[in-house]
Amino acid sequence: MKLIKFFIVGIVFGIVLTKAEAVSWYRIYEMFMFQSFHMYGIIGTAVFVGVTGIYLIKKKEIQGFKGAEIDIQDKDFSFSRYSIGGTMFGLGWGLVGSCPGPIFILIGNGVLSICIVLLGALFGTYIYGTLKNKLPH
């Protein structure tokens, strides 16, 4: 039953991203062509709310839900991993217009061909898993 609350968060996430049109190939293309403020506004607002919230959680030492431990971790520093991996993901994002969240959401939207993207993504993750120790991190 603990999973129900996450399932509900997922539903809200799916509704918001669909209604924000952040799952749309058109919005992603428009963003990378610098022809609309829409996506920048969404990401900017989310980060603004996030920065404020995380700051308050840390400062007020807010306790997690039902004793859950709040886990805000610093990421290990590296340049190659974030720049190379990030650029690869960006190439895919700009090409097929979806990041991992929207891939799932678009299945619900009835965009069946997104399953090919999901298949490619699972294959990509699988290949990353096999090569992980040989890549610069």
């Binding site: 999973l3 609350k5 399932f7 968060v9 539903i11 809200v12 996430f13 799916g14 509704i15 918001v16 991203l17 924000a20 049109e21 058109y26 293309y29 609309s36 996506m39 506004g41 969404i42 990401i43 980060v47 996030g50 859950a68 431990e69 805000i72 610093d74 990421k75 340049f79 991993r81 991996g85 990030g86 650029t87 993901f89 960006g90 190439l91 994002w93 700009g94 097929v96 979806s98 990041c99 991992p100 969240g101 799932f104 678009l106 619900g108 965009v111 061909s113 090919i116 993207v117 490619g120 993504a121 699972l122 294959f123 993750t125 699988y126 290949i127 990353y128 096999t130 992980k132 120790n133």
Partner: protein, 188 residues
């Protein structure tokens, strides 16, 4: 109902996305959708063979629940909360660009037929584009340690320099795709 059925304003959307991330933090978790690609690999076929997938994916059930919810949310939004005449009012300039590349305009569709109609998706070229795009997403996100949710939203909210590097990478890649690859693939 206009407010619900049309495009949600960027400020409302962004606020809710930020809130979702904070709610997950409050539940003791970290917002990040790309981990689910690894989870699915581990739970289906890759677990024993490769070290990277040999972890207890059951501890990630909460994240898989979000992914499942996201599918349902996408369904609810598109079937019950959508007026297709009133969505995706994109920049006329963008539509002009797309026309020059033989890519159809939205007209109520969430993605262009040039990429996503079943006919095009199952042509050799179309299938290859979607598969390669997916591959780059699937390979790039675990390599970078996160995607838009994990780095751009969670990471930047925690003022992480690695996330900033990753997000700059996302944009470098996306700009190359939109300005060079897409014209190369679709332009005549």
């Amino acid at each position: 109902m206009e407010v619900i059925h049309g495009t949600w304003h960027w400020a409302v959307s962004g606020f809710l996305i930020g809130l979702i991330m904070l709610v997950l933090t409050y539940f003791g978790k970290t917002f990040g959708m790309s981990s689910n690609l690894r989870n699915i690999c581990s739970m289906t076929f890759a677990k024993k063979k490769i070290e990277y997938f040999d972890f207890d994916w059951k501890a990630q059930k909460w994240n898989l629940s979000i992914a499942l919810g996201a599918v349902v949310g996408g369904f609810i939004a598109s079937y019950f909360l959508m007026d297709s005449t009133d969505i995706l009012q994109i920049n006329p300039k963008t539509i002009e660009n797309l026309k020059a590349l033989n890519i159809d305009e939205p007209n109520g569709k969430i993605g262009p037929d040039a990429l996503f109609s079943l006919e095009n998706a199952f042509s050799v070229k179309g299938f290859f584009i979607l598969l390669v795009g997916g591959f780059l997403i699937g390979f790039g996100t675990p390599y970078a340690g996160g995607c838009t949710s994990g780095h751009a939203i969670s990471g930047l909210s925690n003022l992480q320099i690695p996330s900033l590097i990753a997000v700059i990478g996302f944009f470098v890649g996306g700009l190359i795709s939109a300005h060079f690859l897409i014209p190369l693939i679709f332009g005549s």
